[in-house]
């Protein structure tokens, strides 16, 4: 028979574009799909069982065939059977699902960390090296990548179907998700939690590249200053170092190598100083006072943007000695002075209020000396 070529092309285009499964582009996807097929299998079995019973009985015992019904009270044995068997199957699903869940959500120890900030209606990605992206995320393949995510307004949800990962991005607290891409390519990034008018426009692309390409991209698109360096300047311009100077007599605890350590709190409990803890103690200092210090630290709630907080956290993470802090003590005035000078640039009223990651003219490694000379803020990393 003859099909008009137009219609034919139309159908072909449609059918080639339509798939039954998203690409398997992460280390976890095969496990997820395996589980999915298992669930489909048991559903098919159950479904077929019900269909056979219903149709079989409807044919065998329709009124014409069987004019008089035989009353049956029930059968404990049968009922027990179809209680136990589904229960057993469901328990298998539960265990399998739980294992998969922890596999997906428990982050590996040595993953490379990227920060994600969600806002209506865009995704902002911040690489430790100082690369800032919007609605796109470049990652190397065959490398465990952990995302530390936070929303600055409403609930969002960071979903990469091709990687089979998804996590709610919540205002006011960090949530993390990790994955290991296995195939290069460009994949969908969706916000799956309804977040207002342009919810369906809050999409982006995940670009999975070979490590070499990633290195090229990273060096090519860096804003010059790493997050830690931005954090260092912010640290100085907020005057944190006046208390957290690391000196024995300092009013604030020593921050060097504090990250990941066990802290004794004033209320006697101990906590691990992780990202969430650092962020919390900047915003609500007195809820978690380190033992031996007075709750005198002012709150920075509403004074530092989420990006700024990320910079600070990243800075404290990488803080191994207090040498730089004592240095920045001397340069902080210059830094804030410079920031003040550049505060004529749109959207920045006071240096402390909205700090921008500054672009250092010299390449890369910032340092106290370079921290002084700052240029106007990089557009695109503006945070409101």
């Amino acid at each position: 028979m003859h099909i008009s070529p137009v219609l034919w092309q139309f159908l072909v285009r449609w059918l080639t574009n339509s798939a039954l499964f998203p690409p398997e582009a992460s280390a976890i996807s095969p496990y997820m799909d395996a589980f999915y097929f298992f669930l489909i299998a048991i559903s098919a079995v159950g479904m077929i069982a019900v269909i056979i019973l219903v149709f079989g009985f409807s044919i065998m015992y329709r009124k014409e065939k069987n004019p008089v019904a035989t009353q049956i009270e029930g059968s404990t044995l049968l009922e027990a059977t179809w209680t136990i068997i589904p229960l057993a199957l469901f328990m298998i699903c539960f265990v399998w699902g739980a294992l998969l869940y922890f596999r997906i959500y428990d982050p590996p120890t040595n993953a490379m960390n990227i920060y994600i900030v969600g806002k209506q209606w865009m995704w902002k990605a911040e690489h430790p090296g100082g690369q800032h992206e919007i609605d796109s995320l470049h990652i190397p393949i065959n490398r465990q990548v952990q995302l530390t995510m936070i929303s600055q307004d409403v609930f969002h949800s960071f979903s990469i179907p091709a990687f089979r990962v998804k996590r709610e991005v919540i205002p006011g607290r960090y949530s993390t998700v990790w994955f290991e891409a296995t195939a290069t390519g460009t994949y969908h990034l969706f916000c799956t939690q309804y977040c207002g008018t342009d919810h369906s426009a809050m999409i982006g692309e995940i670009v999975a590249m070979t490590p070499e390409d990633y290195q090229k991209w990273a060096s090519g698109s860096t804003s010059g200053a790493s997050l830690a360096q931005n954090g260092e300047r912010l640290f100085a311009s907020l005057g944190c170092n006046s208390c957290h100077s690391g000196a024995a007599s300092a009013r604030g605890p020593n921050l060097a190598q504090v990250y990941g350590s066990q802290l004794q709190l004033a209320d006697g409990s101990t906590v691990t100083a992780n990202d969430a803890f650092l962020r919390e103690t900047i915003l609500n200092p007195s809820t978690r006072v380190t033992a031996g210090y007075a709750p005198i630290m002012p709150t920075y709630q509403g004074q530092v943007s989420e990006e700024g907080l990320i910079d600070l956290v990243e800075y404290i993470k990488n803080l191994n000695s207090n040498y730089r802090i004592q240095q920045t003590l001397t340069t902080s005035q210059i830094a804030s002075g410079q920031a003040g000078a550049s505060s004529s640039s749109p959207g920045s009223s006071s240096p402390a209020m909205n700090y921008r990651p500054q672009q250092t003219l010299g390449a890369g490694q910032g340092g106290p000396a370079k921290a002084g000379k700052t240029a106007p803020s990089v557009p695109g990393t503006v945070n409101q």
Binding site: N17, S18, A19, L20, F21, P22, M32, Y36, L39, I42, S43, G46, M47, V50, L53, F57, S58, Y61, R62, K63, N66, V68, A69, T70, Q71, I72, G74, S75, L78, W82, L87, F90, M91, C93, F94, G97, A98, L100, Y101, I104, V154, F155, S159, P161, R164, K166, R167, E168, I170, P171, G172, T192, Y194, G196, T197, H199, S200, A201, N284, Q301
Partner: protein, 553 residues
């Protein structure tokens, strides 16, 4: 196709001289009535009206999704469409659907009482329903609300400028309407049973409505207080749900889902009751394992309170809670499985006929099974990560709510239509509509499972073009589905005047409601009946019809 319809000789048949329909006349006699049957009718009319409004929104949504581009309506409009679709369908249709119409009509008769325990409260709950509906319609006409039916904070409290407060108020009031309905049912089933009507002689419809009522009474108030807090947060900024003020948005999720998960059992349980009645009647057989089915309803109600956090698996509930709630979710799936298999087993050695209610019931069994099993997908932690918030979950709850509950509701309305109106609906037309609905439904929602696994997020106005094929299929199915729902709208009113006269017991069913005249008298029974046989006792019925002993007026 054979049938058991036992219609009186249509030449001589007359509707009873006196019935609840003609005992009084005038609008006032309806609006101020205490009669549960008339209130059921008021509910029937109002929820049908809102069902079609919600359906219209659904149609517009599907139409928009025909193409990947945001071309039919603006994003805001689209968000308002799915929000109002959800709110209206859930709070104004699904929650009151079977209990407030069919249940209101038959439960007092089934237990052998002359009315519900609190007739005035019953009427009050209808007025509360209408009041809530008015608020929602007002919000709708003034530009709608676009928070999604879940009113998620902080979006609903700080980031949208639509009529959240009006809508929340409407839901709040409608909530109390369902509280009072549930309260009435529980009290009636406890205290108003006629002599000899022990718990295990109750029709299973009463059991499932009883279970649903427990959830209504204990769950809905939590939604009420949560909405009050949302309203306060939005008006005076109390900060309970506002992270910048030290509040916790996840607390809202906990409180909201504490009601809204049991709510899905509020919606589905009464439907299961209908299916029990229908399957038994049209296979002329006592329900297989009556006790198991009865207790599975109660089990669902009880477990229903322990599973709410499975809506929050990806929101960072603790690993411990994730495990506990996932486990309990698996447990709550079991009673549903029991019910399905018991219904199937009821057919065994029955004498089965295929009237419309039975067709709908078969539809229910198929679709609800799929819906339930995909629920297991979502209940298993790992799979939930990928599937939640995609079209998979949309398809899942439409299979349960529309494929399950709506099928059951139509089954119930067709099944008790002769009792409510005294006239039969046109059989062939209704069978056609049942089949159309089934086909249309599968076509609409099955593709959504696939597009969901492909990762298409729910509540998306525009979507990547590769998802178009499946969306086109879905929209096409929605058209068929729409026709399937419009047919009853046409022939049901038609049958009010032209339908065959039904007689007392056209289905030869055993429930007390079938032993009295149809349409019944205002006081149901002239004197309180005495229940002297088990439920679904078809031998008793044959014996009775043989000797023409009528126990009741």
């Amino acid at each position: 196709m054979s049938t058991i319809v036992a219609l009186p000789d249509q030449e001589t048949a007359r509707l009873p001289k006196l019935s609840y329909l003609n005992s009084e006349y005038g609008l006032k006699s309806w609006l101020l009535t205490g009669d549960h049957k008339r209130i059921a009718m008021l509910y029937l009319i109002s929820i049908t009206f809102f069902f079609f409004i919600g359906g219209a929104f659904a149609g517009l949504i599907r139409l928009e999704l025909l193409t990947p581009l945001p071309d039919l309506v603006a994003s805001d409009t689209y968000n308002k469409l799915f929000t109002m679709h959800g709110v209206i369908m859930i709070f104004l249709f699904l929650v009151p659907s079977v209990p407030a119409t069919v249940g209101n009509f038959v439960i007092p008769i089934m237990v052998g009482a002359k009315d519900l325990a609190f007739p005035k409260i019953n009427l009050l709950s209808w007025y509360l329903y209408i009041a809530g509906a008015c608020f929602l319609v007002f919000a709708l006409l003034n530009g709608g609300v676009d928070t999604g039916w879940t009113f998620t904070t902080p979006l609903s409290t700080h980031y949208v400028n639509t009529h959240v407060i009006t809508a929340a108020m409407g839901v709040f009031i409608a909530g109390f309407s369902s509280i009072f309905t549930g309260l009435n049912f529980i009290v009636t089933i406890h205290r108003m049973r006629c002599p000899g009507m022990t718990w295990f002689r109750l029709p299973l419809f009463c059991w499932s409505n009883y279970a649903a009522s427990i959830l209504m009474v204990l769950g809905t108030p939590v939604l009420a207080i949560t909405l009050v807090l949302v309203m306060l947060e939005r008006t005076v900024g109390i900060g309970v749900f506002d992270p910048t003020k030290g509040g916790d948005p996840l607390l809202f999720q906990h409180l909201f889902w504490f009601y809204s998960h049991p709510a899905v059992y509020i919606m589905i349980l009464p439907g299961m009751g209908v299916i029990s009645e229908v399957i038994s009647t049209f296979s002329r057989k006592r329900v297989f394992g009556y006790t198991a089915v009865a207790f599975s309803s109660v089990a669902i109600a009880v477990f229903g309170f322990f599973v709410w956090a499975h809506h929050m698996f990806i929101m960072g509930v603790s690993n411990y809670s994730a495990l506990v709630f996932s486990l309990l979710t698996m447990l709550v799936a079991v009673p549903s499985a029991i019910k399905i298999f018991n219904w199937a087993a009821t057919l065994y050695k029955g004498s089965i006929t295929f009237e419309t209610p039975m067709l709908y019931a078969f539809g229910f069994m198929g679709l609800f099974t799929i819906g339930g099993l995909t629920g297991v997908f979502l209940g298993s932690l790992g799979m939930d990560i990928h599937l939640t918030e995609t079209y998979f979950i949309v398809a899942h709850f439409h299979f349960v709510m529309v494929g399950g509950m709506l099928m059951a509701y139509l089954a119930g309305v067709h099944f008790w239509w002769p009792k409510m109106t005294g006239r039969m609906y046109p059989e062939s037309m209704s069978q056609l509509s049942a089949v159309t609905t089934f086909i249309g439904f599968i076509l609409t929602f099955f593709p959504q499972f696939i597009v969901g696994y492909l990762g298409m997020p729910r509540r998306y106005h525009a979507y990547p073009p590769e998802f178009q094929v499946l969306n086109v299929l879905s929209t096409a199915g929605a058209t068929v589905l729409g026709i399937g729902y419009l047919l009853p709208m046409l022939y049901m009113p038609w049958s009010l005047k032209y339908g065959k006269i039904a007689g007392d017991n056209p289905w030869q069913a055993t429930g007390l409601e079938w032993q009295i005249q149809s349409p019944p008298l205002t006081e149901n029974f002239i004197d309180i009946p005495v229940m002297d046989h088990e439920a679904y006792d078809y031998d008793w019925l044959e014996h009775k019809t043989a000797h023409e002993v009528t126990t009741v007026g």
